[in-house]
Point group: C2
Chain length 191, copies 2
Amino acid sequence: MNVRTLCLGILTFKEASGYEIKKMVEEDVFGHFIDASYGSIYPALTKMMAEGLVNVRAEEQAGKPDKKVYAITPLGRQELAAALLVDPAKDKFKSEFMFQIMLQEYLPKEHVAQIYQSQIEYLRDEIEKIRCCVDHHSTHPSMSFVAGFGEASLGAGLKYLEDNKDAILGGDNRDLKIVQPMDQNRKQKNA
Amino acid sequence: MNVRTLCLGILTFKEASGYEIKKMVEEDVFGHFIDASYGSIYPALTKMMAEGLVNVRAEEQAGKPDKKVYAITPLGRQELAAALLVDPAKDKFKSEFMFQIMLQEYLPKEHVAQIYQSQIEYLRDEIEKIRCCVDHHSTHPSMSFVAGFGEASLGAGLKYLEDNKDAILGGDNRDLKIVQPMDQNRKQKNA
DNA sequence: AAAACATATATCAAATCGATATATGGCTAA
DNA sequence: TTAGCCATATATCGATTTGATATATGTTTT
């Protein structure tokens, strides 16, 4: 599934500018299972405009740059329906945090503690955001369903991190740290 | 975090060929939070070879093509440690399935039922795979931790799909009844 | 008054993907 | 039996996508 289909799908819910599509993709319910950058959204909209899948309306705004508000056309809906019929790709979950945890022996203890706590707070924020989304979009049942899924998955992940804090950050830590003897006649090689 | 760091991190656990790294990235515990294709892995290994971050050993195999087994060097470990110190990027979860569910009104009912069932089976498979991984790598505690996280998250997602089957596939799609899971995090809000 | 930030569009080098090419051998169904 | 497919293995390349940056303007914060 490419950025074209992504934009068409979003324009199904409401007409929007490229900027607004990007915001929805990173903040709204969408943000939890799709992603795209300006560098792909703007060219996609321009191209789809030329192909008649969307149309534009320039909107003047007081105190802000003009907005190009895009709306999906019947032809666009046709292409969307065709694109959606393709079997969905496997889910993809990327977490640099988990990669770092897996390689924690290469990181200072305090740093691991810091990123662990940040991750917990990040997950709490995300879950809170989803709950706000559900309130806003409670009219659309599919959105509530999707939001519920995100809440369930992230909630379980958060709980796991909270419950297993000690497993990673446990008090007396392992043999990882090499303690150098206090020898005043010798300069320390390692900081 | 780029493919270089990814490869270095994996080579930390055992020396491997590009082909094996790709397999680990899509099948092993790794597969649940990182990803990379041949098109990025092979060039990364070649370049890191030239920079002295890894070294190669050609391995002849009976009945199979020769294997280039890469191993991380002390210099490679140094670069890895530096790269890991950078704050991890936000988690990224992509699910074309969820996108399709959100736009289910554009899809035939039977097709929605089909992809829904496929998703459930896919999640069951993934969870099963993780459990196998844990058995294999039970020696490495960080791996067990990471695998446990994946199991918790995916498990909650699977349960959600199983519990809310009727909400999406039930006789009348317009009357969605979403079963919210018992959520311990929600309680904290009022506490 | 300066700095930072939000809105808004746009571009582009660099990174990455996804598909394909090449080669070898084992397995298996017509 | 042999043609077709699958697994191992490396490599390349066009197309897509990212991530950073440029430009313009107004508001809010320091």
